[in-house]
């Protein structure tokens, strides 16, 4: 039961009029005897609240002191250690690292988590429903399915593609795939085709230097022929 105490204030007579059916001096009429609850005649009531309560109201009373001493310190340290430890366990599943726009040299040497959605730990599969198991397929099967369609066109681009494919296969020591694996392969192929144009630039002369960085001086001096009013210093 919440009292609209603000409304009892004499500063809001219009509201009182509709409530009590008549303007009384002081407070309006309410359905029950106000004195029974303790609001006597002539008592000053707290002012009406015109805004929502502040987000951090000042504390009137000090809170209970925090646990301190040996036990408190130990439990605190335990808690923080546990938090850190759980983040390192294989049960902490991180969302897949988004594929970066450019394939970097360092990617070859970074093990980015479990291969293709496998779990890092081995649960006892006898205790779990069968549908939860992510199936494992053998290495040979995948190799034949990938390389065969790529063999017919033997241009340089495809050669590089197969080289990249073989490299990624070599990376995988244990072959783990899933039901949606076929779709993923197609996605990967598409992405590699998109990357191809950029890669060509790098691989053109098979040097370590990226071609676009090389400036052979053709553009120099060509721009200064436009409308030169000012002298060049």
């Amino acid at each position: 039961m919440v009292f609209p105490i603000g409304c009892l204030n004499s500063q809001a007579p219009s509201i009182m009029a509709s409530r009590g059916g008549g303007r009384g001096c002081g407070r309006g009429q309410l359905t029950f005897n106000v004195e029974a609850v303790g609001i006597g005649k002539g008592d000053a009531l707290p002012p009406p609240t015109l805004q929502p309560s502040p987000l951090f109201p000042p504390l009137e009373f000090r809170p209970v002191p925090l646990p301190s001493g040996e036990e408190g310190e130990y439990v605190l340290a335990l808690k923080q250690e546990l938090r850190g430890a759980m983040r390192q366990l294989p049960y902490f599943i991180r969302p897949a690292v988004p594929k970066r726009d450019v394939e970097r040299y360092s990617d070859k040497y970074q093990m980015s988590g479990p291969i293709d959605n496998a779990i890092d730990w081995n649960p006892d599969w006898r205790r779990l429903p069968r549908e939860l198991k992510i199936r494992v397929r053998k290495l040979q099967k995948e190799r034949t399915t990938i390389i065969l369609p790529k063999r017919p066109p033997k241009t340089t681009e495809d050669k590089e593609e197969t080289i990249q494919k073989l490299e990624t296969l070599e990376k995988k020591e244990e072959e783990v795939t899933s039901e949606e694996d076929e779709e993923k392969e197609e996605e990967e192929e598409k992405e590699e085709e998109e990357e191809e144009e950029y890669d060509e630039e790098e691989h053109e002369e098979e040097t370590d230097y990226i071609m676009s960085y090389f400036d052979n001086g053709e553009d120099f001096g060509g721009d200064s022929d436009d409308n030169m009013d000012e002298a060049i210093y």
């Binding site: 039961m1 919440v2 009292f3 105490i5 309410l30 359905t31 029950f32 005897n33 029974a36 609850v37 303790g38 609001i39 009137e60 009373f61 000090r62 209970v64 925090l66 646990p67 036990e71 408190g72 130990y74 439990v75 605190l76 335990l78 808690k79 923080q80 546990l82 938090r83 430890a85 759980m86 983040r87 366990l89 049960y91 902490f92 599943i93 991180r94 969302p95 959605n117 779990i119 649960p123 006892d124 006898r126 205790r127 779990l128 429903p129 069968r130 549908e131 939860l132 198991k133 992510i134 899933s178 039901e179 949606e180």
Partner: protein
């Protein structure tokens, strides 16, 4: 499940298992029992991610599954169990006080991994303990096994439900999911294992503690080939037993506060005797005769039988009834005067406005103010008692009363909200200073590697100066704040425990 509880569960899952598990877990808590495909569809996550998340949740006893007709398996989340994650440090600390470091590590491993076989636990704990021991010393498996058995005997660790042994596999295709069963008497049955071995120390040198050359140390793959004698028998921490322990502790300390040391000892003895005879969830212990208590008192207490009887009568007459909210230092939110009024109304059950002022000996205005404050926060409620059948307000009594069960529930809800706020604030603070934290971690790593390769003092100092003084100050402040917030969480969890126990036992009594 209230919104506050769901929010808290979400934060806990996210902190300990990551966002994917959090999404699946919260979805299940909100919607109830669901099959795999529906979960994937509703949350918009890939099937693989859902599978991974469910494996983790089931492993940690946070989700259970059931096979329905037509082979559909449905998964259900246990919200209460998720909330228990807040209490993990307390369980581990209790194990430490009762069974020292070995017990502590056993319980810690069980909580971190959800469930494990005994041999796995023993091996891991022995290795961890060996790490902390002096050079040349190792932890024997037998000692760890002994502590494990003691934990099981006192019911702090229990067996997980088992896969039933399939007699003949000709009865058609295997079911989509096993139905796990557990027998009451099997729950604390330790398999006969002869675990012989010593803990191994991780070393970068050539030989390890047992003198075997490094090359011969068995790798992960070969371990699996050895037959594990207790394969399939998994153990988990028995949280209810820990709760019973906390409850007993709270009761004993409350009695000690209210009366004196001796009476608390008597109560402790009674509780210890009832440990075996009363199931942990019962509202009352089995009746114990004073003779039994007398015989079971600890040796140091030589009080006569008469004195014991006197104490017992005193305890029985105490209106406080032991289980309830523990004392409030300073009066909590409303101040000690409000607390006085509250306790008064609680004791007298129903009071009129005038009576409150008289009994509490507080001036009328203040009393009114406090009553309305408590009323608006729902700690106190108004009870109408009409004098006449038409409930005319001028002829009705309005009495203040305390409905303690609903007040307890309301407080509990507030506690959940507080903890959620604390965790959020802590995460916010950490995120704000993320860059600085990463920098300091990098510097520490550099210093550590330089020390390992033997660097000079001057070089080390140079690296340390990479972190400027104001940055150091910022780090100090951050650490202090995070510690404070963590300590608050622990403290609020104690209150949560008391309120939950109270509500549970009161519901059982009715």
């Amino acid at each position: 499940m209230t919104q506050a509880e769901i929010k808290l569960c979400s934060l806990l899952l996210q902190e300990h298992f990551g966002e994917i598990v959090e999404k699946i877990g919260v979805h299940l808590i909100r919607t109830g029992s669901q099959p795999l495909r529906v979960i994937a569809h509703d949350t918009g996550t890939s099937l693989d991610q859902v599978k991974k998340a469910l494996c983790v949740l089931i492993q940690h006893n946070l989700v259970i599954y059931q096979v329905h007709k037509r082979g559909v398996v449905e998964y259900e989340a246990q919200c209460n169990r998720v909330l228990r994650m807040l209490r993990y440090p307390r369980y581990i600390y209790t194990a430490k006080t009762l069974y020292s470091d070995t017990g502590e590590l056993i319980v810690e491993e069980l909580l971190l991994n959800g469930k494990m076989t005994m041999s796995a636990v023993v091996k891991k704990v022995a290795d961890r303990l060996t790490e902390t021991m002096e050079d040349g010393k190792t932890m024997d498996y037998a000692e760890v096994s002994n502590t494990f058995v003691r934990l099981v005997d006192t019911h702090f660790v229990q067996r997980c439900p088992l896969v039933p042994a399939t007699e003949n596999s000709d009865t058609g295709p295997p079911p989509p999911a096993p139905t796990l069963v557990i027998n009451e008497k099997d729950m604390y049955l330790v398999p006969k294992l002869s675990l012989i071995g010593k803990g191994k120390r991780r070393r970068s040198s050539d030989e390890d503690a047992t003198g075997e050359p490094k090359a011969k140390r068995p790798k992960q793959s070969t371990d699996n080939k050895e037959p594990i004698p207790d394969d399939g028998i998994y153990w988990q921490a028995n949280l209810d037993r820990f709760h019973q322990h906390f409850r007993d502790q709270a009761i004993v300390s409350a009695v000690a506060n209210r009366m004196d040391q001796t009476s608390s000892e008597i109560v402790r003895t009674m509780l210890r005797m009832s440990e075996v005879t009363t199931p942990s969830g019962a509202p009352f212990t089995q009746p114990l005769s004073s003779n039994e208590i007398f015989r079971s008192l600890p040796v140091g207490y030589n009080i006569s039988k008469q004195v014991l009887d006197q104490y017992l009568t005193l305890l029985a007459d105490d209106p406080l009834e032991f289980v309830g909210k523990s004392g409030d230092s300073g009066g909590g939110i409303f101040g000690s005067r409000c607390a006085r009024i509250f306790r008064l109304v609680l004791q007298k059950k129903h009071l009129e406005q005038k009576q409150v002022e008289d009994f509490a000996m507080i001036p009328a205005k203040e009393a009114k103010d406090m009553l309305y404050k408590m009323l608006s926060e729902n700690f106190i409620s108004l009870q109408e008692i009409p004098k006449t059948p038409d409930h005319a307000p001028s002829r009705t009594f309005y009495l203040y009363t305390v409905n303690i069960l609903s007040a307890a529930r309301m407080l509990l809800h507030r506690c959940y909200k507080s903890v959620a706020n604390l965790i959020e604030r802590r995460q916010f603070e950490t995120k704000e200073n993320k860059r600085l934290l990463e920098k300091s971690q990098r510097v520490e790593a550099i210093i550590a590697s330089m020390q390992a390769t033997g660097a000079e003092e001057a070089q080390l100092q140079e690296i340390e100066e990479m972190i400027t003084a104001p940055e150091r100050q910022q780090l100090e402040t951050l650490k202090r704040n995070v510690n404070k917030l963590d300590a608050c969480e622990i403290q609020v969890d104690e209150t949560i425990f008391l309120l939950e126990s109270y509500i549970e036992s009161t519901m059982k009594r009715q």
